[in-house]
């Protein structure tokens, strides 16, 4: 069967199945199990309303449990076994990992990514939000800075491969180095250590628009009285921005920062397409993919390490949301 038909049938079955499930289960609940008539009418209605939320929630809880909760345990359990999955080796995979140079490079680079990318994207986004807010063509500028959000990491990597290329007829950077400054072309993806920053810039390029859009909304929400008061007190534009505006939107800045941090820890595409993890650019997600399909034990061990790094952010997120609920 052609996958296209398979796809259409899946949409029909999926959507129809969902609607059918919700409709039928409600009907059964109201008419058959707890009918709203007879001797126990009030008790039946109350019971039906106690069960109904779980009918609504069931499909979502089911897929979440299967695909996101179970794997936490499943991955951890698998990481305690060797490559074939037959022998229990305890923390053996972790011990080998921590002993390997590549893993240490990956952890180090990952920490760099987790600091530089959120910082860069948030800072440039904040500046862009502030600057574009007052321009007549600000909305067009915003739209263009926001655009890379729509581009895949693979697409973005290719776009920047053209910029970084060694060939001076392809690579814009080398063309500028040679054409304007008369220097020697360099392969920026092979400069030890600094090549990481060229890769990080691609993700900053993608994420700045996100930061800008949210921070721009936050900046607009600042009460004008505070700014007017600062102007009357003789503050200059820089003081207004850094001492009046930024402190008032600190909460939003933190949210943007953590959202990007979480994203950084998942992105393997850029390293995979640009350098394949060579030249000392390995990060944990791409390092995991070198074991995927080859050594499930080690692959899951790396995944668990990523999870451990993410956990503090997760706890913080949950605490924030609990605070809002109250």
């Amino acid at each position: 069967m052609h996958p296209l038909f398979q796809g259409i049938i899946t949409i029909i079955i999926g959507v129809g199945g969902c609607v059918g499930y919700f409709y039928a289960s409600n009907l059964v609940l109201d008419k058959v199990i707890y009918p709203a008539r007879g001797a126990n009418i009030s008790r039946n209605i109350r019971r039906a309303n106690e069960v109904r939320p779980w009918l609504f929630l069931f499909p979502a809880i089911f897929v979440l449990g299967l695909y996101l909760v179970y794997p936490v345990i499943g991955s951890f359990w698998r990481s305690l076994f060797n490559r074939s999955g037959d022998d229990f080796i305890g923390l053996g995979n972790y011990i080998t990992l921590f002993g390997s140079d590549e893993f240490q490079t990956a952890v180090f680079n990952n920490i760099l990514w987790a600091i530089v990318v959120p910082a860069g994207a948030t800072f440039i986004g904040l500046v862009a939000a502030q600057l574009t807010d007052r321009l007549s063509w600000g909305n067009i500028a915003k739209s263009l800075i926001f655009m890379p959000m729509a581009i895949s990491f693979v697409g973005a990597s290719l776009i920047w491969k053209f910029v970084y290329a060694f060939d001076t007829d392809i690579g814009l950077i080398n063309a500028i180095i040679v054409g304007l400054f008369g220097g020697e072309p360099v392969d920026v993806l092979q400069i030890p250590f600094w090549n990481n920053f060229f890769l990080m810039f691609i993700l900053i390029w993608i994420q700045t628009g996100f930061a800008m859009v949210i921070l721009s909304a936050a900046l607009r929400g600042i009460p004008e009285e505070t700014i007017e008061a600062a102007i009357i007190d003789g503050a200059n534009p820089f003081q207004i921005f850094f001492k009046i505006k930024v402190p008032q939107i600190m909460g939003t800045i933190v949210v943007v920062w953590t959202t990007i941090t979480i994203l950084v820890l998942k992105v393997f595409d850029i390293v995979y397409t640009m350098t394949g993890g060579n030249f000392g650019t390995e990060i944990l997600p791409s390092y995991m993919m070198t074991f995927m399909f080859r050594d499930d034990g080690r692959a899951t061990a790396v995944a668990i390490v990523i999870m451990v790094i993410v956990t503090p952010v997760m706890v913080w997120n949950i605490m924030q949301s609990r605070k809002e609920l109250r």
């Binding site: 398979q6 796809g7 899946t10 949409i11 959507v15 969902c18 409709y23 409600n26 109201d30 109904r52 939320p53 609504f56 929630l57 499909p59 979502a60 897929v63 695909y67 996101l68 909760v69 794997p71 698998r78 600000g138 655009m147 890379p148 959000m149 729509a150 990491f153 693979v154 697409g155 290719l158 776009i159 491969k161 053209f162 060939d167 392809i170 814009l172 390029w205 700045t208 859009v213 949210i214 534009p237 943007v256 979480i262 393997f268 595409d269 995979y272 397409t273 997600p285 995927m292 499930d296 692959a299 899951t300 790396v302 995944a303 668990i304 999870m307 993410v310 952010v313 949950i318 609920l325």
Partner: protein, 383 residues
């Protein structure tokens, strides 16, 4: 805030310039890709895309004719170098002016055009700007003409050849269809499931609701990487294996936390009066949901579907793991990252075109639906 006294300062020109610079940095690389995808393959390797509107100097080689007319004790061969098949194969229908020529491959631009050059042994050669040449030799050339290297200005040339190549020879058309097959069900199915759950979390009272919301917030952060190995094994165990069905399930689940979170945040903000009035009038929760909440939540539903669409269309990781590796099931991102970058790593025209084919649809969706996307982002992060 424009009318506040003292806001307009001398900084405004600096502001314009710095925003312009930022926009240029953000835009230029994509423009480069776009321009490159329309350029002729020879021109791409001869000049940068920023020089695309200008003529390109291409070096080529050919051979003169061998029909010598005796003239005194010399033989004279005349003709046009562009009549030579080999030489004209370097150019299209419209070759430009010859700017220099030579007789050795190591130095194809040794002599300026129009100059009569002594080749030794009494031989001389002249090549003019229009490609006409005159070769004088003391011996009958027999059946072999003189080898001529030359550089000609080729006018800027834009073609759709790259697109034709990518879409036919490289199976990119198949990958494009595969991407759609993955994306469309993976965008539509989670919306319904998430909408019901979000309604329950927003408007129904039941024990454990707060805990569930906290769990969803926590799951927003769980790295996908954890799910790869256990779920692939699970798919293999239940007979789904690496297939489209498997990736639909995976994408549905991976998009679920954000979907529930976004939709719940939006639904909570709906006016309580409407919902309570409907309930007083005897509407069941099911009716309230389908007749009131769902239509009112349209902006949030649109926002999430854009997110999910962009995410599934652009995804590489899930497709690499949950789809089979044969060519009939590859999506575009995998195709580009694994096939084209490996086998055609040096073919910049093909790479640019493939990348552009893969980002064109998301860009259209992005610019058409930007309003909803922004609203969705704000609903998700700012209270």
């Amino acid at each position: 805030m424009d009318n506040i006294a003292g806001q307009k300062s001398s900084l405004s020109i600096v502001t314009h310039l710095s925003v312009l610079l930022l926009v240029l940095i953000w835009l230029v690389p994509t423009v480069g890709l776009f321009v490159s995808s329309f350029r002729d393959r020879d021109q791409i390797s001869a000049s940068g895309w920023w020089e695309a509107p200008f003529p390109v100097e291409l070096t080529a080689r050919g051979r003169t004719g061998a029909q010598g007319t005796p003239e005194g004790d010399m033989f004279v061969v005349t003709g046009n170098i562009f009549d030579d098949e080999e030489a004209s194969s370097f150019f299209g229908a419209d070759p430009g002016d010859v700017v220099a020529f030579g007789t050795r491959g190591s130095n194809p631009t040794e002599f300026p055009v129009g100059e009569t050059v002594d080749l030794g042994d009494g031989e001389t050669l002249t090549v003019n700007g229009d490609g006409s040449y005159r070769w004088v030799t003391p011996e009958d050339p027999g059946d072999r003409g003189q080898r001529v290297y030359f550089a000609a200005e080729s006018p800027p040339k834009f073609t759709l050849d790259n697109y034709e190549n990518v879409l036919t020879a490289d199976n990119m058309d198949r990958a494009f269809i595969n991407t759609m097959i993955v994306t469309i069900p993976a965008t539509i199915i989670p919306i319904l499931v998430a909408a019901f759950a979000a309604y329950a979390l927003a408007w129904m009272e039941f024990p454990g609701r707060g805990l569930l919301i906290a769990l969803i917030v926590g799951l927003l952060v769980v790295p996908l990487q954890l799910a790869l190995v256990p779920m692939l094994n699970f798919h293999n165990a239940i007979g789904v294996g690496q297939s489209f069905v498997g990736i639909w399930f995976a994408h549905t689940a991976f998009g679920m936390p954000l979907a529930v979170y976004l939709l719940r945040n939006y639904m909570v903000g709906l006016p309580r009066d409407i919902i309570e009035c409907a309930k007083v009038d005897g509407a069941t929760d099911f009716q309230v949901f389908t007749k009131i909440v769902l239509p009112l939540s349209f902006p949030a539903l649109a926002a999430f579907s854009i997110f999910q669409f962009l995410w599934t269309w652009n995804d590489l990781l899930v497709a690499k793991v949950f789809l089979p590796t044969n060519d009939t099931a590859k999506v575009m991102t995998v195709k580009i990252a694994d096939d084209l970058l490996g086998s055609r790593g040096g073919d910049w025209g093909i790479l640019a075109t493939a990348a552009f084919v893969s980002i064109a649809v998301p860009l259209v969706v992005f610019f058409a639906m930007q309003r909803y996307l922004v609203r969705g982002l704000l609903a998700g992060s700012v209270k």
